[in-house]
């Protein structure tokens, strides 16, 4: 059985899929913030990523430290096979829900 995920979890999972090998805390936060047009708190991002990891939808590993980060390592995230399946399922469900809805809805 595939786990259920919330809105922010789905958005974060999509971001990890989009960023590929460049998915780590700061890049996920920046990408999500830019797309959603709101400044997400770093705590909210890490809490969400922890939930995704607990559900086995992503895995994480620490990278080498870099100077621009004050000599600190990155926590990199990778999509798992289960995470990929959940994304495909979510897309299928959203497309099914949108079927039959008139185009131009909400346009002024």
């Amino acid at each position: 059985m595939t786990p259920t995920i919330g809105e922010l979890e789905l958005a974060a999972l999509l971001t990890v899929a989009r960023l590929g090998h460049d998915a780590y805390g700061a890049s996920i936060r920046r990408d999500l913030s830019a797309r959603a047009e709101r400044d997400y708190a770093v705590g909210a991002i890490y809490t969400t990523m922890q939930r995704l990891e607990d559900k086995r939808l992503v895995t994480s590993s620490m990278s080498e430290p870099t100077a621009v980060r004050g000599g600190r390592a990155k926590r990199c995230f990778r999509l798992t096979a289960l995470g990929g399946r959940v994304l495909a399922q979510q897309r299928q469900m959203k497309e099914a829900l949108w079927k039959g809805v008139p185009t131009g809805l909400g346009a002024t």
């Binding site: 780590y24 805390g25 700061a26 936060r29 920046r30 400044d39 708190a41 770093v42 705590g43 909210a44 890490y46 809490t47 922890q50 620490m62 430290p65 870099t66 100077a67 621009v68 980060r69 004050g70 600190r72 390592a73 990155k74 926590r75």
Partner: protein, 201 residues
Amino acid sequence: MTARPDHRPPRLAQAFAESLIGDADLRDAVVGDLAEDYARLAGDRSPAIAAVWYCSQLVRSTASLSALGLSRGVTPWILLIVSVVVGYAVLAVTVLFTDLWMLSRFSGGASAAWVMAVLSLITGAACAMLGGFVAASIGRRAPIASGVLLGTVCVAISGVIVAHGGDGSPMWYQIVLMVIVGPSAAVGALARALRLARRHH
């Protein structure tokens, strides 16, 4: 993108960020992410705007990052409870001994009672700091959370005593004690957390 290594976040704010999380890997990742985004923002806009952004991120993330440090397994939660119990015991015992010592030194007269009350407030705050320091030492996964919880417990107990007519000492004394004991415990925990973070770094 103009992130440069010479753009460093404000020291105090970064020290606070380091003190929030007990888990070394998580702390490295979060503090590094904040430093990276600070450097970008300072380069693109200005260090002042970046500093405001950095502090707002800390304010908005304090509770969630503290909770995240505790979320892995049952042990951190047990440690949190033990840390508060031990911290409170340390506070209670030290307050008892300092008050007994002061009672033996100051006796008789209204002025002596007033001086003793003020001294008792000062030593009470110091004892609360010590309690917070001890609590943060035990609850290392989330040292700030340990201190804040201890402070909250102290304020709640003081509040119950005041609501039930007090413990016989002047009401102003009990109210001032109730106000200072919580922040004092948190300051003690912060001092310990900063030392722990410095050692790990």
